[in-house]
Amino acid sequence: MKYIAMVDDSEFAIDVLDDGRRIELGGQEHDLEVKDVGSHRLFSLLLDHRSYEILIEPITDPDGGSRITGYWVLVEDKVYSVAIESLEHHLLSQVAVPLAPPREEVVVRAPMPGLVVSLAVTVGEHITTGQVLLVLESMKMENEVCAPCDGVVRAVHIVAGELVAGQKVLLRID
C-alpha cells in the first residue's frame, strides 16, 4: 500500500509492505518493526536495526472532521508534523484546482493560562505583525503576546487583570 507523507517541505513516497514489517522508500527496501512501549503512544521503532523512540499523535481534518490527515511524530526531541494520504488520494488532489484561501479573521488565543497584566490595543486599532498586543503573566514571568499578522483589531475579549485559561480567545483581527 503506497502513501505520500509530507514533512516540512519534503515529500516521501512510502510503500508499506508485508503487513508493516518492511517499507520501500526511494527505491530501497527497509526492515521495520514498530512496537508499543506501555501506553501513552510511545513506540520503539527499529528501522534496519537502528533504534528510535517515537511518540505519535493523530492530526485530524482541520475542517473539524474526525478523519486523520496526518500525525505529530516526536523523533529525538523534535516534533515533526507529517501530513499523510494514500497515493490515490494524492494523485486526485493534484488534479483538483487549488482554491485560494479566503482572507479570514485571525483569532489570537492565550498560549498558556495566566493573568492579563496589561492590554496594549483597543478595538479598531491598526496593528502590524510582531506588535505587542498584551502581556500575560504565567509562572512568575511576563510574556508578550504579539500580533501574528498586520490588520485591524475587531474584538477584544479580555480585560487587564483577568485570569484566562489556556487557548482562550483573546482578540480577533482581520
Binding site: M1, Y3, A5, V7, D8, S10, F12, I14, V16, G20, I23, L25, H30, L32, V34, H40, L42, F43, L45, L47, R50, Y52, I54, L55, I56, E57, P58, I59, T60, S66, R67, I68, G70, Y71, W72, V73, L74, V75, E76, D77, K78, V79, Y80, S81, V82, I84, S86, V106, V107, V108, P111, M112, G114, S138, M139, K140, M141, N143, P148, G166
Partner: protein, 507 residues
Amino acid sequence: MFHKVLIANRGEVAVRLLRASRELGLRTVTVYSEVDRTALHVRYADEAYAIGTAAASDSYLRMDRILDVARKAQVGAIHPGYGFLAENPLFAQACLDAGFIFVGPRPKTLATLGNKIAARRLIASTGIPVVAGSERLTHDGESLFEPQGEDPVATARRIGFPVLVKAAAGGGGKGMRVVRSEEELPAALLFASRAAKASFGDGTVYLERLIAGVRHIEFQILADEQGHVIHLGERECSIQRRFQKLIEESPSTALDEELRARMGQAAVDVARAAGYLGAGTVEFLLDKTNQFYFLEVNPRLQVEHAVTEMVTGVDIVKEQLRVASGRRLRYEQEDIKPHGWAMECRILAEDPDDDFMPSTGKVSRLYEPSGPGVRVDSGIYEGFEVSPFYDSLISKLATWGEARPEALLRMLRALAEYRIVGIKTTIPFFQRILSSVRFMMGNLHTGFLEEAEPPVVDNDPAAPAVAAIAAAWMFHRQAKAPLLSQGSGDGSTQSNWKRSSRWRGAP
C-alpha cells in the same frame, strides 16, 4: 536538636529539604496550596496542611497560616527553602517570636542583605571592591516614574552606559533591565520598578554599571552561631538568559588556587561583616583581568547548591539544619577539599524554541536519568500537572565527573536519557549549548548566550524520514483496523507535547 521541621515551600526544593530532613531522622511537616494537594512534597511528608488557594499570596506567602501550622504540628524549626518567604526578615522574626527556629540568617542580617543598596554600602566599607552604582531610586510601582533624591540620568552618566536597572529588594535576576542610552532610561526604570513591586512588594530600584565580558562567580559560605565561617569554594553561573542562571558548575575554569583563596577569603569577610549565620552565597563579578567585584549576598540556600555538594561531599542542607539548631560547623576550612567537577542544568517548564514561553500541563510520561555521577532533584512525577501559578523550575539535573569533560559528557548523556512528555522543557536547549565548542572550551561570560545563537545540534539526518515512515506505518495500521481507531477522537483534544509547535504555525 529539634525533632520536627516545617518546610515552608513547594516543588523540587521542598523535596530536597524533605530528603535531608529524613536523613537526619527529623519528622517533616509541609504546607500546600489547593493545586498542590498531590504534589511530591505533600506525598513525601509525614504531615501536610492546606494553607490556601493557588495564588502564592494566599498560600506560600501567608506567614500567619504557616505559623499556625507550625504551632498546630508542634515543630521545632521552619525551613523556608528559596523563593517565597526565604529572604523575608519579617518572617524570620515572626518565626523567632513564635518560638520556632528559623533555618536561615538572623532577621537583622536578612534586612541588611535584602536591601541590595544597603548591602553594597556595607561591603564597600570593608574595602572589598563593589560594582559602581547608584543609591536608591524610589518609585511607587504604578504610575510614571518619579525619582526621589539623585537624578537617574545624571547618575547613569556618572556610572557610564550601559547600566543595569535592578530591584533593591530583588535577587535572582528578576526585574532587571539593561539600559544602553539615556533615552531608554525612563521606560526601563518604569518596567523594572513595576516588576520589582510585583515580585518583591517594593518598587525601589537602583542603577549598576554593566561590565561586558564578566563571569558570574559565587562562593558558598557556611557560618555557625559560634562565629566560625568557612567557604565551600566557588560556582560559576555565567550561563544566563535575561539574568536568569541556566547552567552552573563548580569549580570555575577561570580560577586558580591563588585567586580562589583570595575570593574565598573575601566571601568569608563579607559573611563576617554581615554577621552571617547558616548557609549563603556571596556573588561576585570577575572581569577579564581577574579583578573581582562584590555583587550581592543571597542569604539562603541556592538553586545551584548541588554542584558544590557534589564536589565537596558536604550536604549543605543537613549542615544548615545542624547549624540552625545551634551546633558548631563540622568542618574547618582545611577540611574542604573539592574533588572533581560538577555541572547543573535547570530543567524549566518553558519552550526554548518559542522564546522560553512557559509550558503548563500534565506530565504524561516521565523517565529520569540516573547511573554513575548523575543526580536529579525533581518536584514532578508521571501524572503531575504543571500549573501556571509557580516558578517554572521543575527539576535540576546535575552531573559529576573526574574533570570538566567527563561531567559535561555525562550531562549530555543524562539529558539524552531524560524524557519529559506532556510539557515543553529546556532540555533540548541544554543539549545545544553543551554541544557547542564555545561551551566546551569553558570560555564563559554572562553575555555568552547573547553572543551568537548556539549551534543547532545535528539531529540524525534520517529523523524526518523516520517521522514519515512512522506516520505511514500508523496510517496503514489504522486504515486496516478502523475499529481500533477510536484514538482518532484524541486528535481534536490538543495534547500538550506538540501544542507549542502548533502555536508557531498559527496564532
